[in-house]
């Protein structure tokens, strides 16, 4: 396991939306999925996941439903709502543009100024 990256401020919400958009997941599942996709490079404080989930649910972007987990226990599964889908698109676009801009700035050489 290489050096873990600290999560940038405000990006946890976006990652959760993305993770949930791939199919219903309970809280722990969301964490596993993010870690799996990111190949364990992101450091996520486990406890901070839930306030974020509750906040997103309160905003109406995801919705939770009690179901049965793989280990036969009661678990709350979250999935994306229509509103959340639009939010995810908007946020993804924003993130890409921001990344491009930042990358562009960082690649600038003295000659180009």
């Amino acid at each position: 396991m290489g050096q873990q990256l600290e999560l940038l401020q405000g990006t946890l919400d976006l990652l959760i939306l993305k993770a949930v958009s791939l199919g219903p997941r309970h809280g722990y599942g969301v964490l596993l999925r993010i870690q799996q996709i990111s190949k364990n490079t992101l450091e996520i404080q486990q406890g901070s996941l839930y306030p974020a989930l509750y906040r997103l649910e309160q905003q109406g972007w995801i919705t939770g439903e009690w179901g049965e987990s793989e280990n036969k226990r009661k678990a709350k599964y979250y999935r994306l709502t229509a509103l959340g889908k639009r939010k995810l698109h908007a946020e993804t676009d924003k993130w890409k543009r921001m990344a491009n801009v930042i990358a562009g700035i960082l690649q600038t050489t003295p000659e180009e100024v």
Binding site: Q45, G47, S48, P51, A52, Y54, R55, Q58, K76
Partner: protein
């Protein structure tokens, strides 16, 4: 998210909080457990896996708290928290809490008591179905007076012609009240006769009200059309309870009204006191049974010139009073032409039956209500200022607490909210206690008023929903007034400044604010005391006014043989035999009979016709009050006969009609001429000339302050009424002769009801026309004024004592350096003096501003009477100075060493 949305989700979150907490718990533990299982699967020992999972998850409680925040439960929950905390803080300082609650209770109690009186007199609707649809019909006379009486033919014509406008038109007669003098009918059950105020109603009256009987039945639709044919009576609930103690066996019991047999068939519902405000109707009879009262005369139903019916009509659905009046217009014109009514505008009107309803004449209630609500509002304001002041003191003591709470992350709004919640709790406790105080105050007032009148006045002021809402409103206003300033102040405290200044806190601004508050209290209490002073002076003036008669040593015994069915001949014989036997009793100086007791009974009047005295068109015809009295009346009451002679026993029913007139009548109608020997006629009895045989001094009859009205007296033999009052002037205390008089009456006629025995002085002091209103006004305003004074004294004392206490160190230093006690006294009390000065100026300004409210109710004293203003200011200053001096004297005696070590 809007605040509404957040509040709603917060609220519902609180409601389903238990489930929410369980869910949250389950969800978080699921996470940890599943992670631990994964770790075990990866080969970790069970114990270690569990610990590792918990460790990586982080603080479980913190995560939960953040989740709760995310859900928005915090607003409502923190409010509940504040409530619990506020309650704890109040319990922790019981002295402050007790004083504040008592102060607010007095303020709110005074207000709820006065509001419930106002509510009863002005707002409370009749307890019937759709009370707003009930009206009575009348022709207006002038702005304040109207004529609500109709004849039988007029009633039937109106009923036929208004079928589209009214769903029900009914006639009623207030028994006794409509006859020559106000008397009740006598209800005899099991041989005991007691007066009952009777209402005679046409058959559809109760169906139109839409009320159900408490017991038995009410008057039925078909009853009352034929004179004398339906001898049934329905009792009011209140009368049934007080006289028969809720005995259900009186139903269907044979009874007698004025000696004629009737059957009690039912009890009207609880709370229904009849269609008039203030006077309780105790027995309801069919309209046709009016013959019980007038000896079989059916003119009230048949004669077009006998107008004694009141018409109560219910508006048809979706008809307003305005459209009803429009429809009544032509009918009124037609009626006025067919059955002329002099002195009346030919405009038939429907008027709302709600208070004041049938009360004729100018209505003083709104102005009285405004006056006393203003005064009691002032008391509440003073109470609020006082509690605000206490809270300020307490706030300074709690500045550390506030600063620490702020430092620990309490937001400013949160701190203000917490303090406001505390004040709100105080105010609510105050309101609860205040409503109890109000109920007690009303009870006291009711017993005071119960002695006022021979009529069953309704002085019941039930605790209604409106009163409760009013009290709650007063509490909220109080909480807002009291809480907001200290809360803003305390929450603004600067942390490091507070924590560094040690125990002492003495910011000038805080003290300045308290100074302003106390000056406001002094001003408010001065205004209240001035109002009280004016009322008390007015009462004293009224008490010392020349009544024109001498009420001392006179006993009044009110009798009514008509209530057991005596005929006129029987009545006349009874009264003359009784008078002869009373006059020879020991200690009796003179004895006489009177129909209308001055200042006690309602005055009767009639238009009069004077030969040679022409009335021009549009001018009111001459009008005079009259009374029927026996020989020796003027001697018993000590009213001087100026010219002519008293009545003799030889003035009888068959001798020529004679009258004595008062000075005002002589002056007005026979100006400059000797009236003795001249004659006039009553409009009600135009056949008979009445010869004037004498002139008597003016004396009070209706009230103690209005200008005298023309009044004439006729011999009681020429104006018989079954209800008469025996008046006896005695050598000693008048009450002492009571038993002797009773035994004479019992001996002559064992069953004649003796309605009351009271002294003439009592009638003057407590009679409806006497000083009752002055008494109530003076007592009420004095109580309010003294309440205000007490509150102001506490305020001044508090602020001076506090300031002196704060400066103990400084005073010690000054004294150690050689300052004289007098200098210290001046230094400490100077501040108080300034407060008193400012307060007096403010109070005088308030008093003058509200003086126009008081002015209408004063007699013999102006609303801006300088003597009262000066005297009360002086009194208040002295009391306030004393309140200042006490703490100042204590500072003067401070031992310098003690003071310096005070740190």
């Amino acid at each position: 998210m809007t605040w509404w949305h957040s509040l709603r989700s917060g609220l519902s979150a609180v409601l389903r909080r238990k489930r929410l907490e369980d869910d949250m718990d389950a969800e978080l533990h699921f996470h940890i457990d599943t992670y631990a299982e994964d770790l075990i699967r990866q080969g970790m020992a069970r114990e270690d896996a569990r610990r590792q999972a918990c460790l990586e998850f982080g603080g479980l409680e913190r995560a939960k708290a953040e989740c709760r925040d995310a859900l928005g439960t915090n607003l409502v929950e923190s409010l509940l928290q504040d409530l619990r905390f506020g309650l704890r803080m109040l319990v922790k300082s019981p002295g402050f809490t007790a004083v504040s609650v008592i102060t607010l209770a007095l303020g709110i109690g005074a207000n709820t008591a006065i509001f419930s009186i106002v509510d009863t007199l002005l707002f409370r609707p009749l307890p019937v179905r759709d009370p707003d649809g009930l009206t009575f019909l009348a022709f207006p006379r002038d702005a304040n007076h109207f004529e609500p009486e109709f004849s039988g033919p007029e009633f039937r014509q109106i009923r036929e012609a208004t079928r589209g406008v009214f769903s029900s038109v009914n006639a009623m007669i207030l028994g006794g009240l409509s006859s020559a003098n106000a008397r009740s009918d006598g209800l005899t059950v099991d041989g005991v006769t007691m007066p009952a105020e009777a209402l005679f109603v046409s058959g559809d009256f109760f169906p139109a009200l839409g009320i159900r009987p408490y017991l038995g039945r009410l008057i039925l639709s078909g009853e009352g059309n034929v004179p004398g044919s339906d001898p049934v009576v329905v009792l009011s609930y209140h009368y049934w309870r007080t006289r028969f103690h809720e005995d259900t066996s009186v139903i269907n019991k044979p009874a007698f009204i004025n000696g004629r047999p009737v059957t009690i068939v039912g009890v009207a519902p609880k709370g229904f006191l009849g269609p008039t405000p203030l006077i309780e109707m105790q027995a309801y009879l069919p309209l046709g049974m009016m013959t019980l009262e007038n000896g079989g005369d059916t003119a009230f139903l048949t004669d077009a010139r006998t107008r004694s019916l009141l018409i109560v009509a219910r508006l048809a659905p979706s008809v307003s009073i305005k459209s009803a009046d429009a429809a009544l217009g032509p009918l009124g014109q037609h009626l006025a032409k067919q059955y002329p009514r002099p002195g009346v505008q030919p405009v038939l009107q429907a008027r709302p039956l709600r208070p004041p309803g049938l009360v004729n004449g100018p209505n003083p209630f709104p102005e009285l209500a405004a006056l006393f609500l203003t005064l009691s509002g002032l008391v509440l304001a003073l109470a609020c200022l006082n509690v605000a002041n206490l809270s300020l003191v307490r706030a300074s003591a709690r500045r550390r607490e506030m600063a620490v709470r702020a430092a620990l992350g309490g937001s400013r709004t949160r701190l203000i909210l917490a303090l406001l919640v505390e004040t709100l709790l105080l105010a609510l406790f105050g309101a609860a206690a205040g409503m109890a105080v109000g109920v007690l105050a009303l009870h006291a007032l009711r017993s005071l008023a119960a002695t006022a009148s021979e009529l069953p006045l309704v002085f019941e002021f039930p605790f209604s929903g409106r009163v409760f809402v009013f009290g709650l409103g007063a509490a909220l206003v109080a909480a807002a007034t009291v809480g907001i300033i200290p809360a803003l102040r305390a929450s603004r405290a600067n942390l490091s400044a507070v924590l560094h200044e040690g125990g002492r806190s003495s910011t000038g601004r805080r003290q300045r604010l308290r100074t302003i508050l106390v000056a406001g209290q002094v001003g408010g209490s001065l205004a209240l005391l001035i109002a009280a002073g004016l009322f008390v002076r007015s009462l004293r003036n009224a008490q010392h006014a020349d009544l024109g008669f001498d009420p001392g040593n006179v006993l009044n015994v009110r009798l009514d043989p008509g209530e057991i069915g005596y005929t006129k001949a029987q009545g006349v014989a009874f009264y003359s035999q009784m008078l002869a036997r009373i006059r020879v009793l020991r200690a009796v100086q003179s004895a006489s009979l009177v129909t209308i007791v001055p200042l006690g009974d309602n005055v009767q009047g009639d238009d009069i016709i004077i030969p040679g005295h022409e009335t021009s068109l549009g001018e009111q015809p001459p009008h005079a009050s009259y009374n029927a009295v026996s020989p020796d009346y003027f001697k018993t009451m000590r009213i001087s006969i100026l010219y002519g002679r008293d009545f003799f026993d030889s003035d009888t029913d068959v001798s020529p009609r004679v009258a004595l007139i008062n000075e005002t009548m002589a002056e007005r109608f026979w100006h400059g001429i000797d009236p003795v020997g001249r004659s006039f006629k009553r409009a009600d009895d135009p056949q008979n000339d009445i010869e004037i045989i004498g002139v008597v001094r003016d004396s009070r009859t209706e009230d103690t302050y209005s200008p005298y009205t023309p009044t004439f007296y006729v011999p009681i033999s020429q104006g018989y009424s079954p209800a008469q009052t025996l008046q006896i002037r005695t050598a000693g205390a008048p009450q002492a002769i009571g038993p002797d008089v009773l035994s004479v009456v019992r001996d002559l006629a064992p069953t004649v009801p003796v309605l009351s025995i009271r002294t003439m002085s009592d009638v003057v002091n407590n009679g409806a026309g006497g000083l009752l209103l002055f008494n109530i006004g003076a007592r009420l305003s004095a109580v309010l004024g003294l309440l205000g004074l007490a509150l102001a004294v506490i305020g001044i004392y508090g602020v001076t004592a506090y300031a002196a206490g704060q400066r103990t160190q400084e005073i010690g230093l000054r004294m150690a350096l050689g300052a004289q006690p007098a200098t210290i006294l001046w230094m400490v009390s100077r501040h108080g003096l300034a407060i008193i000065g400012a307060g007096l100026a403010l109070g005088l300004a308030i008093a003058i501003a509200v003086s126009h409210l008081v002015g209408d109710f004063l007699v013999g004293v102006g609303a801006t009477d300088p003597l009262t203003y000066l005297g009360v200011s002086l009194l208040l200053s002295l009391v306030a100075l004393a309140a200042c001096y006490l703490p100042a004297r204590r500072s003067m005696r401070v031992d310098p060493m003690v003071a310096l070590r005070h740190e």
